[in-house]
Amino acid sequence: MTQIIPAEGIFALLWVLIALPAVGAVILLFGGRRTNSWGPYLAVLTVVGSAVIGVLMLLALMDQPAEQRTVVQNVYDWVFVGSFQASFALQLDQLSMVFVLLITIVGALIHIYSLGYMAHDPDRRKFFGYLNLFVAAMLILVLANNYLLLYVGWEGVGLASYLLIGFWQRKPSAAAAAKKAFIINRVGDVGLSLAIMLIFITFGSITFQDVFGQASEASEGTLTAIGLLLLLAAAGKSAQFPLQAWLLDAMEGPTPVSALIHAATMVTAGVYLIVRSNAIYNAAIWAATAVVVVGLITIFMGAIIGSAKDDIKKSLAGSTMSQIGYMVFAAGLGPIGYIFAIFHLLTHGVYKAGLFLGAGSVMHGMNDTVNMRRYGALKGLMVITFITFMAGYLAIIGIPPFAGFWSKDEIIHAAFERNWIIGAATILAAGITGFYMTRMVAMTFFGKARWEDDAHPHESPPVMTIPLIILAIGSTFLGMALLFWGNIETWLEPVTGYESVPTPLPTAFYIAVTLVVVVIGAVIGWVMYARKEVPIEAPRGNVLTRAARQDLYGDAVNNVLVVQPTYRTAEALTTFDTKAVDGFVGGVTSFVGDLAVRLRRSQTGFVRSYALSMVGGVFIIVLALILVRLS
């Protein structure tokens, strides 16, 4: 059993990790124009600072024996109501460690990249403020030691993503995309809130230690419920089916945002959540199965969408969905999968960031065209971008020795250990990946130039290319590094547990099959898009293509199932409110008014009628008196 070590030495700085970017965000956002000049650099510094601390902590953590690598720092008591106690407490263990590094390092690189990419944007101060906000929130998310605090980070990154997707708010499409992202995530949040509540009333606590310590004691039904709720949350954050619709629109945001938030880090929070809660899924087999199914569906949705999009960023977004599908899928496989989910998450974080930044670099040179049909033959003009992009390309399609190969291969392997059908499915998906990535590369860098007339492509400035290079190196070697030098299994094993089941066939066989399928996919892609002429106008395409261009009708479905009904209800209720509820009030008053108008007629002004009513009154009174007596 892992034991907690106090937050001393370098670990005392745990809170600083978050504080640095948070302070940066505050300064930039509230500091106003006077910070315009130096603000962005400050932002970069804070993140770099966090990254440095993170690395130091990694080293310190490595010094510790394996079972003593969980640090908890209780910053202060946060929400204490009766038996419900949520501290602002941070927990650093092997799992959060790797996330800290991913976030801070990739974050730092992207900050630097943005210095160039956003150089000419009037609001870049805000941009960097938001980025800092995001890093801070994301660090809270992965460092929280209880679910409620995790929720804070969870929602914080959501906010940052909302702000950054809608960064160019004057574009209505951007504003709409931002709103969509937030609201769909909100659906996921419902899942998270309910999960937290259910966890609390089941375990009487919401800290990870207590919950996982007692997970086995709770009934499987409850655990399944919790698991499914957490899956809902994860699906929202990680754009998994059925809450995938927002991610493609999210590409409205600036490219560095897409790289950092919607490829490398935030969208993987769902995976983190599931892996973090492994104790629950281990005990709730049906929840785990649901995770697998969701992952599998999303793998294919993403891949298909990615194959059909002409917008390079959307195509990448599709592939992100698909890759995260892989991670979720792996996380669903249970102890054999958790580690590789994280492994893939790390490699993907690096190479997908590289790919996005590369795409950004291309757009930068093609004055922000995203339509790949207007690219082509750029390999000569953007050498660095091209090379780094190829590194990412080989990584994602999983060609050895590039990073993606190791992680994805492990997942496929694990899939086969569970069940050969899903294993086959993952291999097929890998093939599709090969297809659409090849398509992307071919359309962008090879073939003939199909540029717009005013386009004169050029390589991006060093401030942008250097991060590309670093990420490219990562895409190339990270897989091996983690696997052989960092031996990630043993590193994560204390947190996630690990079990390996022997597979019927030798590992080499799966690798071979996978590679063959991938290559086939790649070749098809090459033949279709490098050999043949790519029309500038997209051909009508077959049913699947058209569906994929419509994001497989995700929006249409949401519209019919959710949005329209909601607005119709709203209108109906509004009418009801004015007509019925308020109308009732008005009705009563007007009724009394009419009554008054009628009754006042009784006041005829004729003495004799008054006298008559008096006589009547006397009779009534006397009669009443007698009746009362008789009764």
Partner: protein
């Protein structure tokens, strides 16, 4: 306990202030404002000074108690005191008043023709402050009722004299609704008095005596209805809400802030302070009905807000939805639910203030139009304004890290603990909240600048120093309390626990280990 009569002082100060303001010459509007502002700051200072002396761990039901016989013939006494709940609400009032004054600095000049004198408005605000403090600190039911009713008068004039075109309709509607509730409460109060007279020989209105009566359930049920009716109208609960949108839409932003932000809290405050302890059996009996109303309110308000064309009405309906949450938290009879409700009251006060004031600043730049369709792309020319607007929206949709989240989560948790499905259902509300809040932000602030905002002498300028000064404290408070709510929770929770002891149903505790601790 400090012998100094804190509460009376806090109540009397603004009253004197209002008299001074009213006596100032109409020719010096600026002076009137300055005096009003100064007074409200003094009150705020006093409140803080008092709050610092408040002993959160005291076993006394009330602190800073004062009691003098008023109408002994009827067992009525002037007795005041605060528990945690009262304290935070007093603090809320004392905080929002200066903010409102500051924000409303220029609101009145514009419509002299409407008939309101500048000083009159600010005098009314101070009167209202005195009464609001009074209603939260009264520990004598009769005294509470007096404040409860008299409070209507200043707000009635604030709406009717300083409001929009439909102001007198709105004011009368507001007054009649409130009077209706008030009168039924009066009837119930009379009944309560008679009951106490029958049990104790001499009737009394002293809260602490009344809670110890054992009233037979059927009587409780009748009396409960009287009080509840008043509170439900005040809060407002579905379906007694229709006065609110009109009042909010016609009132000045400042008026709406005080009306919805503080005054309506009297309804929910009354529920937790009076209904639960005095009528435990009836509360238990009616809880399902009330919770039903609360749930309906949550979604009803949210849905209509989703469709609203008028910002002020939108905020009104969203408040209705929030009041649904608050009421829900109170009537699930759980510690977290009750505490959450009170926190939610504070949070909602702050977010309402932020919303209405920002919207007010926005509309003051567009000839007071509240139509959402009249705006668009504001953040282009007024980024700070847009920023605060977004902040207000976020705090209203209970973003984690803001105090409203603490309240909302605790309420939902409390509901979940008691009735798992109610909690689950209510949680769905947070999605719609996000939907309508972001919708109004998107429509007004983003996209291309609405041409009408740059024509006919209209300039969508950014916030000025005064306006920012008014908003910053609210924002700061909601963030600070969001990340460090302990000051609230530590004073509220004991009071809530004490209240819940009266309600028969036991506190539910969780199945496995009932106390969760760090590590």
């Amino acid at each position: 306990m400090s012998a100094f009569p804190w509460l009376t002082t806090l109540g009397v100060l603004p009253l004197l202030g209002s008299i001074v303001v009213a006596l100032l010459p109409s020719s010096k509007p600026l002076l009137a404002k300055q005096v009003a502002l100064a007074v409200s700051f003094v009150v705020l200072g006093g409140t803080i000074a008092m709050a610092l002396q408040f002993n959160g761990s005291s076993t006394e039901p009330f602190q800073f108690v004062e009691s003098y016989p008023w109408i002994p013939a009827l067992g009525i006494s002037y007795s005041v005191g605060v528990d945690g709940i009262g304290l935070v609400l007093v603090a809320l009032a004392a905080t929002l008043v200066p903010v409102t004054i500051l924000a409303g600095w220029r609101d009145i000049e514009e419509d002299q023709e409407a008939g309101g004198s500048v000083k009159g408005y600010f005098a009314l605000i101070l009167v209202l402050e005195a009464l609001m403090i009074g209603v939260f600190v009264a520990t004598d039911v009769f005294l509470f009722y007096v404040f409860f009713e008299v409070m209507l008068v200043p707000i009635y004039f604030m709406i009717g004299k300083y409001g929009g075109p439909q102001r007198s309709y709105a004011a009368v509607k507001f007054l009649l609704f409130s009077l209706l509730g008030g009168l039924f409460m009066l009837a119930a109060m009379v009944g309560l008095y008679v009951v106490s007279a029958r049990q104790l020989g001499t009737g009394t209105f002293d809260f602490l005596t009344l809670v110890n009566l054992d009233i037979d359930p059927n009587t409780q049920k009748m009396l409960f209805l009287g009080f509840f009716f008043a509170f439900a109208i005040k809060a407002p609960l579905w379906p007694f809400h229709t006065w609110l949108p009109d009042a909010a839409a016609q009132g000045k932003p400042g008026t709406s802030v005080l009306l919805i932000g503080v005054l309506d809290k009297v309804g929910t405050f009354g529920m937790i302070r009076y209904l639960l302890p005095i009528f435990p059996a009836a509360s238990d009996f009616y809880a399902p009905v009330v919770i039903g109303m609360a749930l309906i309110g949550i979604f009803y308000g949210a849905y209509i807000a989703l469709n609203a064309q008028d910002m002020k009405r939108l905020f009104a309906y969203s408040s209705m939805s929030h009041f649904g949450f608050i009421t829900l938290g109170i009537f699930v009879f759980t510690s977290s639910g009750g505490t959450g409700s009170v926190v939610y009251m504070v949070a909602h006060g702050l977010s309402t203030a932020a919303l209405f004031l920002t919207a007010g600043f926005l509309m003051s730049r567009r000839r007071e139009s509240a139509l959402i369709s009249d705006y668009g792309g504001v953040n282009k020319t007024a980024p700070v304004l847009a920023g605060f607007f977004l902040f207000a929206a976020l705090s209203s949709l209970a973003l984690p890290g803001l105090v409203s989240f603490v309240g909302e989560f605790l309420v939902l948790l409390g509901a979940f603990e008691r009735y798992i499905w109610v909690g689950a259902l209510a949680t769905l509300g947070i999605v719609i909240t996000a939907a309508y809040m972001l919708r109004v932000y998107q429509k007004t602030m983003t996209g291309p600048l609405n041409p009408s905002l740059d024509a006919g002498g209209i300039k969508m300028t950014d916030l000025k120093g005064r306006e920012i000064t008014a908003l910053v404290p609210i924002a700061a408070l909601s963030i600070v309390l969001g990340f460090y709510p302990a000051p609230l929770l530590n004073v509220i929770n004991p009071a809530v626990e004490r209240t819940l002891q009266f309600v028969s149903v036991a506190e539910v505790d969780s199945s496995l280990s009932s106390e969760g601790s760090e590590q």
